[in-house]
């Protein structure tokens, strides 16, 4: 019996909480990234896609 794998494609927003720090690391499905110490602010940034989002050149996915 295997544990659940990562979700499939589609619009996926991801937040990693960096070990040992207070910083949340947010990644939009467009590839844009944003760091924040406030989860409310970070969700607002993520959900504002594409406003304020600058995907890296080459269109790397998150």
């Amino acid at each position: 019996m295997t544990s659940a794998g990562p979700p499939g494609g589609g619009a996926v927003y991801r937040i990693d909480w960096t070990p040992g720090t207070d910083v949340l690391d947010g990644a939009c499905h467009c590839g844009a990234r944003h760091l924040s110490e406030d989860p409310v602010e970070l969700w607002e940034w993520l959900l504002a896609h594409p406003e304020g989002h600058h995907p890296p050149a080459g269109g790397e996915g998150a």
Partner: protein, 356 residues
């Protein structure tokens, strides 16, 4: 404005609760009566006789029909009235709403909303609850709290260290970072915390027999509004699944909650724990049932209290969110969106619970 998400499937009962006795359950403020036909088919009708609103659940079954305990109006499994006392003419509008019902994964799922939209394919799955490779313990606790408080509680497991310390919590749970993923397209939220080296809490030490420290993975998969899954993997430190995905040396516990709003301020809290080890060990079964129920009751007591507090807070009270709340905030937002969408759809239709 309602806080409910309509046009959804909700767990109304465990399959074993529905039989030839009439079961009354209120879901999203709608009173239902549940029973099985003589062929075993589950049925859900509105729990109000169309005559004088008497609860059909306080009545009796005759074959596949309900005979109202007050005047004897009789309804078939589709909600149509097939007998009224004292006359042969049955008024055209004599019917009660019947609700779409699906029996799956040991649950009775009921569609609340516009029945034309009820699609069984939309029901999220928990197949281990009805699988001989797992042993399941389960129950339901009534919660005197709005469903959003249970969602908040389940989406942040760091409270295990404090509220449930000594049962399922150990210090590492609150200290381990989490990854939160929101799948917008499928409306699923994943929250993961993987502890490579942690203390083994009594809940798992007793049931797995592991002595010493463990690798402990918790993967939440929440399908708003109702179904919450927690995939839990325990193994001695360093023991990982095989590359091909099989995992013979890991112990797996699937924890399932179905969060079914009863009224605006009360919730039906269905909980289940399925394990793939010690399947026939009755001591482990009794221990897990007792332990999980204790944990659930700790949550019930805390959330019942919190509901009373919140109900008395002035409008516009403030909350403070920190990093542990990342998953819960994601859930709140998706639920808010779903409430808005279902309210917009409802205002287009003329009335709720339209007789079918």
């Amino acid at each position: 404005m309602t806080a409910f998400v309509r046009n959804q499937w909700y767990v109304a009962a465990y399959a074993r609760e529905v039989g030839r006795d009439l079961l009354a359950r209120t879901i999203l403020g709608e009173p239902l009566v549940l029973y099985r036909t003589t062929e075993g088919e589950p049925v859900a009708l509105a729990d109000r006789c169309v005559h004088r609103r008497y609860p059909l659940s306080e009545s009796r079954l005759e074959g596949d029909t309900i005979v109202c305990g007050y005047h004897g109006f009789t309804y078939d499994k589709g909600g149509a009235c097939v007998f009224v006392p004292g006359q042969t003419r049955i008024p055209r509008t004599a019917r009660v709403a019947s609700y779409p019902v699906v029996e799956q994964d040991s649950f009775i799922w009921v569609w609340i909303g516009d029945r034309d939209l009820a699609d069984p394919a939309l029901i999220p799955r928990a197949p281990w609850l009805d699988d001989s490779r797992y042993t399941v313990v389960c129950g339901m606790e009534p919660l005197a709290a709005r469903y959003q408080l249970l969602v908040d509680n389940l989406m942040d497991l760091s409270h295990e260290t404090y509220l449930h310390g000594g049962y399922i919590g150990t210090p590492e749970v609150a200290d381990t970072p989490i990854t939160t993923e929101v799948d917008e397209e499928n409306a699923v939220i994943h929250v993961s915390r993987h502890m490579a080296d942690a203390e083994c809490p009594p809940f798992y030490a007793k049931s797995t027999g592991i002595q010493g420290r463990i690798t402990r993975w918790q993967d939440i998969e929440y399908h708003p509004p109702c179904l919450y899954l927690l995939h839990s993997r325990i193994a001695p430190v360093g023991v990982l699944p095989n590359e091909d995905g099989t995992d013979p040396n890991g112990f797996h516990v699937e924890i399932v909650y179905a969060i079914t709003p009863e009224t605006e301020n009360t919730t039906l809290d269905f909980w289940a724990v399925a394990r793939d080890f010690a399947l026939d060990d009755e001591e482990v079964t009794a221990f897990l049932a007792e332990s999980n129920r204790t944990v659930v009751m700790q949550d019930v007591v805390a959330l019942d209290l919190l509901e009373k507090v919140i109900a008395n807070e002035p409008e516009g009270y403030q909350e403070l969110s920190i990093n542990i709340d990342t998953g819960a905030l994601a859930a709140r937002r998706i639920l808010k969106r779903m409430v808005a969408e279902s309210s917009a759809a409802a205002s287009v239709r003329s009335s709720q619970a339209v007789p079918s």
